[in-house]
Symmetry: C2
Subunit: 320 residues, 2 copies
DNA sequence: TGCGCTCATGTTAGCGATAAAGTCATTCTT
DNA sequence: AAGAATGACTTTATCGCTAACATGAGCGCA
């Protein structure tokens, strides 16, 4: 018991004993068993973070935000990856919940019924991130992708473009990309404009795919004067293609992507894009969990934070 | 006890009871408490994976390899990030070991004394990955970065370049980059060649930094005919800069990077690079842990797998 | 009828920590 | 100087499971 108190820095141990314990622990290479500790104290300093992928830059950046905040606390993130697969999500969630974490941060608002039931029944803070278009189980931090799509559509129309093509991922399960697309077409429709052409890809290097798709679309539909990409990586590929081909950007063809990835800073031209506030989302989500895990009186929960992405017009969204 | 048996699929339960249990569990939304289970059985299905960073593509790819293999088993990876900081590594390791995982996969061979002591004392399989230039604690999977540097140096010399500049990260703690650099200069020295200029960066967008550093170096040392970059991202920035400036690549200036990131496929020219075998490393490491966790008779351990990276000459390493 | 055997289920005793209450010298109070 | 208060430990019970053993019904076979 005294050892336990020393190692957790709880009061009521004399300086002398504290030192003796610490030294003995070091000599023995003693590492406390958190499993036993957690079982006894009914407290686990883990936060489950469930995200679809690590292989585009967006979720690692969210993780950065989460880490920033949790580093100040005794909480530790544990990452699970779903690959945009609802069954995997369910499994990963079950697995993580069975470790009784102090909170869950999970990407998206769309989950299987079973997953939703688990989250509700878990009795811990749940923060759904990235998206605010829909009903949250508990708290929620993100941006409205529908609104983001609309905003970009309006900016494009205002710049004078009318023959607009869309290029994106062939991922029925990427709900956020879908919502952006819906918002985009909706805002165009309001002005009587319809997408002229569209193209979807799957797998492979996004940059290369952006190149290929852009070539295909411009050949197929030469009258196109604007290309809206569902992410910056394919947008960058398209931009490089246009520059290669001597296509005037943004005079002849305008371009825009989505996300504001750091990569873009190094391109010959700045691609128009929209910041998805990823670090802030991570920070805010972690903050909600951290707050609730210290508060004694249950604060009710249900926080809802909608951030507003800003258009960064760069050099590719300007009718000259 | 019967419930426990049903949920873990251990024999000796009648079909009828099994179904009744499963149904009751579902009704109640019962999620077993792994903490208690682990404490009782002294078995934990977690594998600690400790890596320096998530924000360049290299570690996510290693994770992909690890996941591929562990998905076939009942093991689950748990990721910890150190930001190339030895103290953080120590802390993360301590935290993870206190959950008594079934194995540890950790990047690099350089760790603090305390970290090494913990790893040795943990009594579980430890696989150090990415690097084979040094002494492993237990098993080890990776490539020799020193050899990789030498190999690239020789390829560059063979192609006829002599005025070689080096551009890399200012990271005294990125031991692998350092070893590559050492191998590189060593092989050059053997042929009586010395690096003409060098430049290091810190933080910021690697692509943009590659651009800036390349510009700075070519202005400062115009006689340079080859640029060796410590990673593909800055190499890509340099390549874009050269193309922008109308510098003939690879005639006037040759370029090479390191890593073989997927991104490169979309560039106007293929940057010469070297594949670091990241997915294979992940797979092999996970396989070692998986094997050892099923074997009863201790297999001794100490596996050592050195993979051989291959030069991909691309379009930027060819004297015309 | 009784012995051994199998199969399904039940009991008991931990796993290694912590919460909460208990002990027992000291030190303070008035 | 007696009682209260404090400080520094100790003891005991418990967290929710699982290993290992115990039980006991049902069956075959001599």
């Amino acid at each position: 018991m005294t050892v336990s108190r020393v190692l957790r820095n709880r009061g009521d141990v004399s300086q002398a004993t504290r030192e003796r314990v610490l030294e003995a622990a070091k000599d023995l290479g003693y590492v406390p068993n958190k499993i036993a500790g957690a079982l006894a104290s009914q407290r686990v300093n883990l936060v489950a973070v469930i995200i679809p992928s690590l292989s585009n830059m967006v979720f690692p950046e969210v993780m950065t935000g989460i880490n920033e905040v949790l580093d100040e606390t005794s909480l530790q993130p544990v990452v699970g990856v779903t690959n945009y697969n609802p069954e995997r999500e369910e499994k990963v969630l079950y697995e993580m919940l069975s470790w009784r974490p102090s909170g869950v941060i999970i990407a998206g608002l769309e989950h299987s019924d079973a997953a939703k039931a688990m989250l509700k029944a878990a009795g811990i803070p749940v923060v759904e991130i990235m998206d605010t278009d829909g009903l949250a189980i508990d708290a929620c931090v993100g941006i409205s992708h529908r609104r983001a799509g609309r905003k970009m559509a309006n900016a494009i129309l205002k710049a004078g473009y009318r023959n607009i093509g869309f290029l994106g991922t062939k991922m029925p399960l990427d709900h956020r990309a879908r919502k952006r697309f819906e918002g985009f077409t909706e805002a165009l429709a309001k002005e009587g404009v319809e997408i002229v052409d569209r193209e979807f890809y799957e797998g492979g290097s996004a940059l290369a795919k952006g190149r290929e798709m852009t070539e295909a679309m411009l050949k197929r539909t030469p009258e196109i004067d604007f290309l809206y990409y569902s992410n910056d990586m394919i947008g960058a590929g398209g931009l490089l293609y246009c520059l290669d081909q001597g296509i005037k950007v943004p005079g002849q063809v305008g371009l825009a992507g989505f996300n504001g990835v750091e990569l873009l800073d190094g391109l010959p031209r700045q691609l128009a894009t929209m910041d998805a506030c990823r670090i802030e989302i991570g920070r805010a989500a972690a903050q909600i969990i951290a707050n609730r895990s210290t508060e004694k009186g249950d604060s009710g929960g249900g926080e809802r934070i909608e951030l507003t992405p800003k258009i960064q017009p760069g050099d590719t969204l300007r009718r000259r």
